[in-house]
């Protein structure tokens, strides 16, 4: 049955591609990373991967099919892992549109730590890129500019991709990670209403689903969220704010305030994130900042950034440089240093083994 459905889908896509405009692109990326102190036994290779991505976009006037997929070859253990980053179809009417399939979406206005971006799961397999995963969902959009509405139905829960050390920790304690049972009632829903005005962009969010990280028992807890965000241009800067209420979490309130300032080739982002833990009656917070600068006609981009947990004083700092030899070939180098807090590892310090230097080369076609 599964094979029949797959064959039918492949045939449908092939037929569509035959009658639509098609664009094809790809990227080959090689990266290698080396651990640095405070990692135990520093200066050893911790990873070397070759990632091949293919991108297909076939589109007509009212339809679109998009596929982003490929494979990762891990040179450390000689394994090959295929992946489908996104694979969705769009149907457009005048104001209403439908997107169904594997897709990514970002909620909120934060760049570093968001209070409202719960729709898609985290991908913690690569903490440097801080990418978000995709969801298998049906999205219905209604565009009544300056208003816009989105409704997501996610029938199948997608958990966060955990870092190997966290998966190992669950295994060590013999805790089995259990996903919610596959049933209609265990689906997730999300909604967003946005207004784009001259005064600024404002949005409301609602979500009912699951936490993307398992709890100490290995089970995923229910998650509800009601939130709002704003991005207001004032003079040279854009002020940003997010606030969210999580009735099923101990940390019931989360909020973010920040700004983005772009001056010529400089971009500065500063954000303050806080959450209120009702059970412990405790306020915790994080402050993050990044500065990026482009030079040599935009070929070289330098960036530094960091995040600090304000209670434990643990955090991470990172810096990097990226140089474009041509439109196709780019090389980058980056360093991440994760440090523990004053009384223990803390939120970020627990990942201190991720401290390292990373080199990457990408070829796009």
């Amino acid at each position: 049955m599964k094979r029949t459905v797959s064959c039918f889908l492949i045939l449908a896509v092939a037929l569509f591609c035959a009658f639509a405009d098609v664009s094809f692109a790809g990227e080959t990326a090689f990266d290698a990373s080396v651990s640095i102190p405070p990692v135990e036994n520093p200066w050893r290779f911790t990873g070397a991967t070759l990632k091949q991505t293919f991108e297909l976009d076939a589109y007509g006037d009212t339809t679109d099919f998009y596929l982003n997929a490929g494979f990762v070859f891990n040179a450390v253990d000689c394994s090959v892992t295929p992946f489908v980053s996104e694979a969705y179809a769009d149907l457009f009417a005048e104001k209403i549109s439908f997107r169904f399939g594997r897709q990514k979406a970002t909620w909120g206005v934060a760049e570093i730590v968001s209070a409202v971006d719960v729709l898609t799961p985290s991908d913690l397999s690569d903490p440097v890129s801080m990418e978000k995963g995709a969801i298998n969902a049906l999205k219905v959009s209604y565009d009544a500019f300056p208003l816009a509405f989105e409704l997501f139905w996610i029938p199948v829960f997608t958990p966060a991709v955990l870092p190997p050390m966290m998966t190992a920790m669950y295994q060590m304690y013999g805790i089995e990670i259990k996903r919610p049972e596959l049933s209609l009632k265990n689906g997730e829903v999300g909604a967003r209403a946005a207004a784009y005005t001259s005064a600024g962009d404002f949005a409301l969010y609602g979500y009912y689903g699951w936490e993307d990280m398992p709890g100490m028992t290995g089970e995923y807890d229910r998650l509800m969220m009601a939130g709002a965000s704003a991005a207001v241009p004032v003079g040279d800067v854009t002020l940003k704010a997010e606030a969210a209420w999580y009735p099923k979490r101990d940390a019931v309130f989360s909020a973010m305030a920040g700004l983005e300032w772009i001056k010529n080739d400089f971009t500065f982002i500063g954000e303050l994130y806080g959450e209120w833990n009702k059970a412990e009656e405790k306020l915790s917070g994080q402050v993050g900042a990044s500065i990026s600068y482009t030079m040599l006609d935009g070929d070289l981009e330098l960036s530094v950034g960091g995040i600090l947990e304000l209670r434990e004083l643990d955090g991470a700092v990172m810096g990097g440089a990226s140089y474009s030899f041509s439109d196709e070939l780019k090389a980058s180098a980056g360093v991440v240093y994760v440090f523990e807090g004053k009384d223990g590892p803390g939120t970020y310090g627990a990942f201190k083994n991720l401290s390292g230097v990373r080199l990457e080369a990408t070829y796009s076609f």
Binding site: F92, F145, Y196, P233, T238, D297, E328
Partner: protein
């Protein structure tokens, strides 16, 4: 026969004399106003090729689709990069507001869609940010919009030929003096009031950038500058925008393309 020739010559002399007299009466501000009044199509769709030339001689080429529509109280523009791969899908939506009767002008509304982040960012339009490089080119975000007449004071310096075209030479001095290039010298065609050249001077009065406009063609009765080259004299770089597939006043430009949702959905082709 002889008398009719005399009449023709006399009429020609009279016309030239009238034109010279009229030109002499025009102030720099009048000419700038006339340049702003050059008829523009209510809507347009253009494919533009951007060539970015580095100091070392390396070239990068970007292709964008640009659509715009004038709604009277606002002009909406959308620009989407189609190549190369590293910028494909990046989109820029801008709402530009006309100058009010008192000379004031509302800041434009700007959004930037970054497909890698699956996110649309609101961008501040006022102040120095507008002078930031437009997608790595020597053009700024402000260059992509229309500068309010009230922001400058104007002095007519005379007339000068630019590539064989007679132009008014006008000095435009920023009143606020907050811009990186507060002074400009613009060359406006005496016949068509089109911009043929613009020199940008920095705060030290040094020549910073030079814009050269060429290949002006008339499409459906509207003037279209098909080639714009911006040269950064100080850095030695230049960028050129070449227009193709120019379509004016077409009903095919749907109002729904000028929205953040359309930008995020990749519907602008």
């Amino acid at each position: 026969m002889k008398s009719s020739k005399i009449v023709v010559v006399a009429t020609f002399i009279l016309m030239v004399a009238t034109a010279v007299a009229q030109a002499a009466d025009l102030t720099g501000l009048d000419i700038i106003k006339k340049a702003h009044e050059v008829p523009e199509p209510a809507s347009s769709s253009v494919t533009a090729t951007l060539v970015i030339h580095s100091k070392k001689g390396n070239e990068k080429t970007r292709q964008v689709i640009m659509k715009s529509k004038d709604y009277g109280d606002v002009t909406k523009k959308v620009i989407v990069f189609t190549s190369p791969k590293d910028v494909a899908g990046v989109g820029y939506l801008m709402f530009d507001y006309p100058e009010a009767a008192d000379g004031s002008k509302q800041d434009s509304d700007n959004w930037l869609y970054m497909p890698a982040m699956k996110k649309t960012k609101r961008i501040a339009a006022s102040g120095t940010e507008a002078e930031g490089s437009f997608m790595g080119t020597d053009f700024t975000y402000e260059d992509m919009g229309e500068r309010a007449i009230s922001k400058d004071k104007y002095t007519l310096l005379g007339t000068e030929n630019v590539n064989g075209v007679a132009c008014y030479k006008i000095k435009c001095e920023s009143i606020a003096r907050t811009e990186g290039d507060p002074d400009r010298v613009v060359y406006i065609g005496t016949d068509d009031y089109m911009l043929y050249r613009c020199e940008f001077y920095d705060r030290h009065g040094e020549l910073h950038r030079v814009l050269a406009c060429s290949d002006i063609e008339y499409i459906d009765g509207y003037a279209c500058t098909k080639v714009m080259k911006m040269e950064n004299i100080q850095s030695g770089t230049w960028s050129q925008i070449t227009m193709s597939d120019v379509i004016y006043n077409t009903s095919a430009i749907d109002d729904n393309v000028f929205t953040v949702t359309a930008l995020e959905q990749g519907r602008i082709r």
